[in-house]
Structures are given as C-alpha cells and as structure tokens.
Amino acid sequence: MKKLDKNAKTAFLNYGLVAVFFVAVEIMMATGVMTNSFKGQLIPIISYVIMALALNLVVGISGELSLGHAGFMSVGAFTGVIVASSLQDSIGASPLRLLIAILAGALTAAIAGIVIGIPVLRLGGDYLAIVTLAFGEIIKNVMNCMYVGVDSKGLHMSLMDANSLGMEPTGRMILNGPMGATGIKKISGFIAGIILLLIVLVIIQNLVGSRTGRAIKAIRDNRIAAEASGLNVTKYRLIAFVTSAAIAGSAGVLYALNYSTVAPKKFDFNTSILVLVFVVLGGIGNMTGAMIAAAVLTVLPEMLRQFQDYRMLVYAIVLIVVMIATNNEKVKALFAKKEKGEAKANG
C-alpha cells in the first residue's frame, strides 16, 4: 500500500496546484491587481497545461514521440467552433453549448487519433513521430482551405472558396479558409477551463494509476517482456494515444472559443514543438512538472514584454535554468535537502 500512497500523494499535489492557481486568480480579480494582459492569458494557460498533460501521456507514460499534437488541438478547435456556432440559435445557455462543443471536439480528435494510431501503432518502431509530424501539417493545410458556413438550410462546406458554399445572403461564415474561424462567440471562461483541467487530471491520473496505465508503462519499459507477459501491446499503445488525442481536442475547443478569430496556422509545427518543450522541461513523465512548465512558459513571454530588449535573453536564461533544475539529479537532491531542512526548521 506504500506505493499506492505515493501515487495518491502526487495526484493530490496536482489537484492542489490547480486549486491554488484558481484561488490566486480569483483573489487577484477581486482585489483588482489582475492586469488585462494576464487576464487574457488565463484560458491559453489552461489550454496549454491541458495540452502538456495530453502529450505527457504519450511521451512520458507511453514512451512514444508525437510531433503533431497541435493537429489534434486544431481538429478539436475547429470542430468546437463549428458546433458552437451552429448551435448558437438553438441552444441559448452558453455553458451547455461549450460542453457540447468540447465533447464534439474531443470526439473528432479521438477519431483522428484512431485513424492514425491503428496502422502506425501496430508497427514496432518509432514511426509515430514521422506520421504525427505529417498529420499536423496535413491538418493545417486542410483547415487552410476549409470553408464552412451556416444558413437556414443548415451547414455548408467547401474546400474551394467562400462563394462555392452557395449560401443564402443571410448566411453566416464559420470557417473562412486561411483566415480561419471568424466572429466566434467567446463562450470559454476561466471557471469552465478550471473544471475541464480538473476533469482531465482525474482521467489521466486515474488511468495511469489503473491496470491499464500499468500496462502502458510496462510496454514503454520493455515491449518484449510485456508481450511475453500476455499484454496486448497495440491495444494499450492505442488507448494512450487516442486518450491523449481526445484531451488535446478538448484543449483546442477551450482555446478557440476564447477568441473571436482563430487561424489554422495557430496550430502548426511550432505549437506541437512548444508543447513538447513543456513536457521535456517538466521532466518527461512528470505531470506536475509539465503543468508548471506549460503555465510558466505561456505567461513568461507576455510578462517580459516590458523588458523589450532583454526579453528573449531572459526567456532563454529561464529555459536553461528550468532545464537544469528539472533534469539534474544534483540540483534535485539539493532542493530535496533544502526542503527537508526547512521542514525541520519550521517544525
């Protein structure tokens, strides 16, 4: 039972972290110290934290490399926008619309995950990185020429241009090719984001702590031994990958419904790599680390805006320091010692 306690401890640490973040933001809002720029960053922070958790499931827990997770975010985002926009008149309550949009975004991203995962994960080697890389680019290009509009007759879709949609004059454009989604009603909110983040944390942590998660980690550690122990390797790799894709899709919906416009190029290769950086800096497989890295590295560029000239320099230094702190055994040991010492001094 000792081991179970340790897992439970990190799980509660992560829930606690989210709670502290929530309370801190609420206090800042109540006391008026919240700057507008930070306020605008809240949903992106939560979205990227969820992305980092999703990718960590693949990279850290399952031990595969995905270089196209922004693609799943994109699939989720634009599905969410289409669903939310088309329900605009029929469902008045925006939280319900957001919920349906998130579920729809997660579902389509999961389907994309299955379509990629089934052929690729049956293969033995590290093909996932290459295929996800291609997937991310393909999704970006498809979304770049996707035109969707809605009128009284329902949804219209085209891969040519806006005119070929043949909409009624009263119709409304939802997706506009390279310009992406325009005129989005912002229905994502901070509290909705926190709730989604908590649900994602529960799903991932409970999955990892279950029989399924144990199998996924075993396959990561030694595939041949896992097969020899009677594990269906493809099945468990697929569960990890598709769950991750669905969660990335939900993050995409939350993100997109926080802006009035979102372009497909937002979810490009750079975004995939950025999320990978969160996971690596957080210490691969370390959920707490991934969450902190995602949050810090999302706000940092904005916070450093006032030091225009030194911004990138400071950003680079922080990156290096975080990297050393999270991945260096000696530094880790030092921090551990210091914490113990402080605890003793306090107690």
Binding site: R211, R214, A215, A218, A225, E227, A228, G230, N232
Partner: protein
C-alpha cells in the same frame, strides 16, 4: 483441456534458419506435465533460440509446436503466454521504472478483471480487484522472500533479485510451462542453492512443468528429471542426469570441454 497423458509441450521437426545459418534443426522433445527438464549445451548451441521459438519471439522456419496438444502456429507471443507458456530472459527484461510489485501485477494483468472505464471512474471493482492483486503479488513475492522489496523500483534491485523477480512475474501469469533461461547466471553458490530449492518448490506447489537452460551443472543435475543436450542447433542426447553424465557424445561436446 487435453488429458494428463498429453505432454504439456511437444515439438516436431522444429527448426529455424537465420540467413544461411541453421540455428536450430530437427528439434523434437516432449515435456510432461509437472516435469523439470534441463536444456543444456555449449555457448551458441541454440538454447535461447529454442525458447524464442517456443514463445514466438521468432517464427519457426519449419516444424510444429504443440501446447497441451494444440498447435501454436500463427500465435503471437501474447497469445502463447495466454495459452500457458511463461518465460524469463537470459538478458534480464524487467519493467525497470515500475516497482517490484507493479512488475508482478503485470504478470497478473490478465487475471485482474476490471475495465479501463472502471479504473478511471474508480468503481468498486477497481478497488476490490486491485486489493486482490496486491495480496496475490505479495504472496508470490514471498516465494523468494521479496515482499519487503515490493515498493522498490525494479531497475534498482541487485542482479540476483532481478532474476528472481523475473521468475515471479512469469509465474504470476499462471503458466502450465515455465521457461527459465539461465536463472542462476550471476548468482553465488549459496544463492544458486536457494534458487534450486525454490524451483523445486514452485513445481511442487503450482504443479507446473519447468524447462530450464543452465550452465551450472550442479543445479541442472540436481533438479532436472530429464535433460536435453543440444550442440550446433541439434539434439545430441536425451536422458536422465545419470545417463547424460555418462554419454560419450555429451562428454566430448560439452562436459569434456569443461574437464579440460
């Protein structure tokens, strides 16, 4: 299930080629239920390759493998394990980052009955099945007096303990036939002695058949009821330890070399 007279394992004309090299050829053996069989031979004789054929890590080039009378052709390693063959590896293959207990629970995996959804929602079956698995894992670890190491990370264990853990994990899958590839490698004489007793205890308590590859002749001669000797991929002798020890071919190919 087949009757008791059917051997738990039977191979017919089993063989495999790697390019031009015939690593195993005309390998015909029968392993009875509850038997401890030794598989010996000089380095590079093809012993590990035979285990890899039996567990489908390699696809046989020819021949047949019958498990309890059922042809295992076309089975994956996973299916073969579910059908009743478990193994350890000459070059230890543990789940290094998992704990000792988790390694055993992977062995128990197919006997733990709750779905991924039940796990995520932490429904009652998750708790009861995990509790059962925890108790079962400790019970199995106790065979080697390893239950106090349950929470340790497997990769950090000393070599001998890693070998023992591999046996426990294999045993946890509830096999009919357990294949041990050099279980005593790297162990000192007292550890080997203890291992010998434990292998016998496992056979007696679980009633399973055990086939083991081993270079330690004291261990092989001490616990195996029957021995198969291979050299250059072919069987050169079969028999009881006494018969093998006095077999001229074996002495020449194998034991003779040892005597110098």
């Amino acid at each position: 299930m087949a009757d008791k007279k059917t051997p738990v394992l039977e191979t017919k004309h089993l063989g495999i080629d790697f390019g031009g090299l015939t690593a195993v050829d005309e390998f015909n053996i029968e392993v009875e239920h509850g038997e401890i069989k030794g598989l010996i031979g000089p380095n590079g004789a093809g012993k590990t390759t035979i285990f890899n054929l039996l567990t489908k890590v390699y696809k046989p080039s020819r021949g047949m493998i019958l498990l309890d009378g059922t042809d295992t052709q076309g089975m994956t390693p996973e299916k073969v394990n579910r059908a009743g063959i478990a193994r350890t590896f000459q070059n230890i293959r543990l789940f290094d980052k998992l704990t000792v207990e988790e390694n055993v629970k992977i062995g128990l995996h197919n006997h733990i009955n709750y779905s991924s959804i039940e796990g995520v929602l932490r429904l009652p079956r998750y708790w009861s099945e995990e509790k059962k698995a925890h108790e079962k894992a400790l019970e199995l670890l106790d065979i080697f007096e390893m239950s106090d190491m349950a929470g340790d990370v497997a990769g950090s264990l000393p070599y001998g303990a890693q070998r023992r853990l591999e046996i426990v994990r294999a045993l946890a899958t509830e096999p009919k036939l357990l294949l041990l590839d050099e279980p005593a490698a790297g162990m000192n004489p007292s550890e080997t002695e203890e291992l010998m007793n434990n292998i016998r205890k496992i056979r007696d308590e679980f009633g399973i058949a055990i086939m083991l590859i081993e270079h330690d002749m004291k261990l092989v001669m001490g616990i195996c009821e029957n021995i198969v000797v291979v050299n250059f991929g072919k069987i050169i002798a079969k028999g009881t330890p006494a018969e093998i020890q006095s077999n001229d071919d074996v002495i020449e190919a194998y034991l003779g070399k040892r005597k110098g």
